[in-house]
């Protein structure tokens, strides 16, 4: 036979989501082995405690083929790194331009001290805690497409944590008398942040990767992140002469939207009509949302005294919390509606 006759010129073992195999699918799918897929013999090695490389019980969710998951953003390492390198470059430039334009002189002093210095910096500890959660969870997920979104979600967090630190160091150089100090003590002891720290530590103790994504991306980010970052820092910045902090926050918001999207996709996937365990999965996701909502609300509501320190407030703190809470409830309701439809 001629070698050219009909010879496959692309991977033949991946079912593409769309008509053609995407670059993302080609470099990601089936890089994780699985005895139910191609690796019929099972796992060759166990730990001294008897565990295997991967375990179905690493989540309470059940799905016949986790490899069907696709990241709606279709990110692989090259596109992810490019995206984050762009974000970081935009921050580097924004600070440089603001310094050259003398824009830091316009920052309202109380705003800088209380909100950017005291409040925003504490956020880096929350982010670092979540980095550790997702770095561990990516180890356990039951497919490569899932492992990658978890890995990137973890990296998002540590990127933001470092971006905050670098930004504050830049401010130290630009704003007379500004000092990044005492954040860790506030994170560890200030009553304002204790519900947030409790929530973070409880997330670090979560042993189910499905629960972690649902809790963080569908509950904690939309409530606590929305109130503490978007409402307080991004919305209020421009009213205090600060056009830069909102840019730093907006990079984390961009990450947040992406992570919310794939988590919604994950929930849709496990509650799809053809999934035998869809009802049980729907019940479990509902249980997780119910478990984490009061924690996220408590963490957000405890920030009220920080809101009081904003010199020019746009509405009340209660309104901000209610807005975030309503938007988060809408995300969950839309998912529930879809999964009920599917059933």
């Amino acid at each position: 036979m001629s070698l050219e006759a009909k010879a496959p010129r692309d991977f033949t073992y991946i079912r593409p989501r769309k008509r053609r195999l995407s670059e993302y699918e080609a470099v990601t799918c089936y890089t994780q082995p699985d005895p139910d897929v191609f690796d019929k013999q099972g796992w060759y090695l166990r730990s001294a405690e008897g565990r295997t490389a991967w375990r179905k019980e690493s989540t309470r969710l059940r799905h016949p083929h986790w490899f069907d998951f696709r990241d709606p953003a279709g990110l692989w390492q090259r596109t992810y790194v490019r995206l984050q390198a762009e974000q970081e470059r935009s921050l580097e430039r924004a600070v440089e331009d603001a310094a050259r334009a003398g824009a830091f002189a316009d920052f309202e002093p109380t705003w800088v001290r209380e909100l950017v210095g005291a409040h925003y910096r504490v956020w880096s500890f929350f982010e670092y805690g979540l980095f550790r959660c997702f770095a561990q969870a990516q180890r356990e997920t039951l497919s490569d497409t899932l492992g990658n979104v978890y890995c990137f979600a973890g990296f998002d967090r540590v990127r933001h944590a470092q971006a905050i630190v670098i930004y504050l160091m830049d401010l130290e150089g630009q704003i007379e008398g500004f000092q990044d100090a005492g954040a860790k003590e506030r994170w560890l002891g200030d009553p304002v942040y204790q519900p947030a720290r409790r929530m973070t530590e409880e997330l670090m103790a979560v042993d189910d990767w499905g629960e972690l994504a649902v809790a963080v991306h569908l509950v904690v980010d939309p409530i606590f992140g929305e109130v503490g970052l978007s409402e307080m820092l991004r919305r209020h910045g421009p009213f205090h002469g600060d056009a830069v902090t909102p840019l730093v926050v907006s990079t984390a918001e961009r990450d947040r939207r992406r992570n919310c999207d794939w988590t919604e996709e994950l929930v849709r996937m496990v509650t799809a009509a053809e999934v035998p365990a869809r009802d049980e999965n729907r019940r479990i996701v509902g249980e997780w949302v119910a478990r984490w909502t009061p924690r996220a609300l408590a963490a957000a509501e405890a920030l009220a005294p920080v809101h009081e320190r904003i010199p020019r407030r746009l509405g009340t703190f209660r309104e901000a919390v209610e807005r975030a809470s309503a938007a988060q409830a809408a995300i969950v309701a839309a998912l529930e509606a879809r999964s009920t439809e599917a059933a």
Partner: protein
């Protein structure tokens, strides 16, 4: 100008001791690691991202632009390109396993300095997984014969060498996370990435494959940081004398497990698939493993109580033959594989005898016979030169024929009412340390005992697009290719060799 040192200090101060909820012990470790040590990773994420983006642009740019336009892979030596079909999926799982390993290190090691390094390595490993899968697909598109590249990640599940690869590389993340770091960072990355990602690129380039060096050298630029992670981890481990009690045993096991697969496999890849010949694997091994890794790296750790791995002497002795034995078994079992084999020429054999004196006396007869069996009309496969298929090692999954079939160190014994084979004293010792770690799977022969070779080929989809020509071939001759009918006519049964052997 912000101070980099100060920035590093601040980004490493994110740790705290949780007091509201206790993090479960997900990956038990016997090791005690000090909370503060040296930092192996002195980059801010911002710098790391721009550095990696730049490297990606260069590497993918080269593949997408000049190399694709000149259709370079199609012009590379076909003998060499064939082995990339199996090598890339093997190495790829190593990267994937490494990503998981670093995830559990981030969770387990309460040390902010070390965690900085693991954090970047985690994303590096995703990079390498993607790069190698990309290269495999690139070859599917551009190589002279794409069959095998297009399905390699599927075939690796039941392939003889890929299975053994997975068995070794699962050691990166199944077990004590520090034992995983010893397997991954201290042995595989520090000792073996040089022969894999540096030395192999010389052979690739000499054989007209410019794409592999572009990718591998870009990967190796990350590996230097991973070696630093390994060194820092090891330095942290030896700084607490209590760790030494189990460190040596874990290190011994890590070295043997990686050696038992990587050395025979790499030996066969290097020496049996070069068309334009350069150095031998034996020479590279001496340079990178013996002189560099053992001679410089490990011996530096002697004052801290770490010794050269227990079976290193035996490994070094085995190096004379194990690559040739792995090559022989690979060629002999060609119908089970998913790439093509190019029989050795007289010039090849002269090279072998020169590089490995005595080679012809042990292996020459096989190669003379092999050449006669390439044409399907001869009606024979080289498996017929052997009485039976070799048993596979319960621990490392390699065929029990090493170092050389005539002086094999195979041993067979009963455990739990079943017979098990071991390729060496070391693998048997490792099994005896904790048998249940190695008993949780069906062996190859349990799955395929009694299969006709043709049935195995059909069931595993090892056929070309026409549905009858085998993907694997004993030669590069495109005119006379074996079909499933040729193979079926021979009626060769896969028999579990342990069925008839006494313990």
């Amino acid at each position: 100008m912000r101070s980099l040192i100060e920035a590093h200090n601040r980004v490493k101060d994110f740790d705290w001791e949780p007091s509201y909820a206790k993090k479960p012990t997900r990956y038990p470790t016997r090791y005690r690691i000090p909370a503060k040590t040296k930092d192996p990773f002195r980059h801010l994420i911002r710098d790391y991202l721009s550095m990696e983006e730049e490297k990606d642009n260069r590497q993918y740019g080269a593949l997408e632009d000049a190399l694709a336009r000149s259709n370079a892979p199609a012009k590379a030596e076909r003998r060499w390109m064939e082995i990339m079909k199996v090598a890339l999926p093997v190495v790829n799982f190593g990267e994937y396993a490494a990503m998981k390993s670093t995830g559990q290190l981030v969770d387990t090691i309460e040390n902010a300095e070390l965690r900085q390094g693991y954090m970047a390595q985690m994303l590096d490993e995703v990079r390498h997984v993607n790069q190698e899968a990309y290269l495999t697909r690139y070859f599917a598109r551009h190589a002279a014969d794409p069959e095998g590249f297009a399905q390699g990640f599927k075939f690796r599940g039941t392939n003889l060498y890929n299975r053994a690869g997975r068995a070794a590389l699962e050691g990166f993340f199944v077990g004590d996370p520090i034992e995983g770091a010893l397997n991954l960072q201290v042995v595989a990355e520090t000792a073996y990435t040089n022969p894999i990602f540096v030395a192999m690129t010389e052979i690739a380039a000499a054989n007209g494959d410019q794409a592999t060096p572009s990718v591998f050298l870009s990967i190796q630029s990350d590996e230097a940081r991973h070696m630093a992670n390994g060194y820092s981890t090891l330095a942290a481990v030896v700084s607490n004398p209590d760790n030494l009690a189990f460190l040596q045993a874990d290190f011994d096991r890590a070295f043997w497990r990686q050696h038992a697969f990587l050395d025979p496999f790499l030996g066969a890849v290097y020496d049996y698939f070069q068309a334009k010949r350069t150095s031998s694997y034996g020479e590279k091994w001496n340079e990178w493993i013996h002189e560099d890794w053992v001679g410089c790296y490990i011996e530096k750790l002697a004052p801290f109580g770490l010794k050269v791995p227990r079976w290193y002497g035996e490994a070094r002795e085995r190096m004379k033959w194990i690559g040739h034995t792995a090559g022989l078994i690979g060629f002999a079992t060609w119908p089970l594989q998913f790439w093509r084999f190019d029989p050795l020429t007289d010039a090849d054999m002269e090279w072998f005898e020169r590089k490995y004196p005595g080679w012809y006396g042990h292996y020459g007869a096989f190669w003379e016979e092999y050449r006669k069996m390439c044409d399907p009309r001869a009606g024979a496969v080289p498996l017929s030169l052997f009485q039976s298929l070799p048993p596979l090692c319960r621990v490392c999954q390699m065929p029990c024929v090493f170092p050389r079939p005539d002086v094999s160190t195979v041993r067979i014994k009963e455990h739990g009412g079943k017979k098990h084979a071991f390729c060496s004293e070391a693998c048997e010792f490792i099994f005896d340390e904790d048998p249940q770690r190695y008993l949780g799977y069906d062996t190859f022969y349990e799955l395929y005992d009694g299969y006709d070779l043709a049935e195995f080929v059909r069931e595993n989809g090892l056929l070309r697009a026409d549905g009858k020509t085998l993907i694997a071939q004993p030669s590069l001759d495109d005119e006379r290719m074996w079909t499933i009918d040729d193979l079926a006519a021979l009626k060769i049964e896969i028999k579990n060799p342990l069925r008839e052997v006494g313990a």
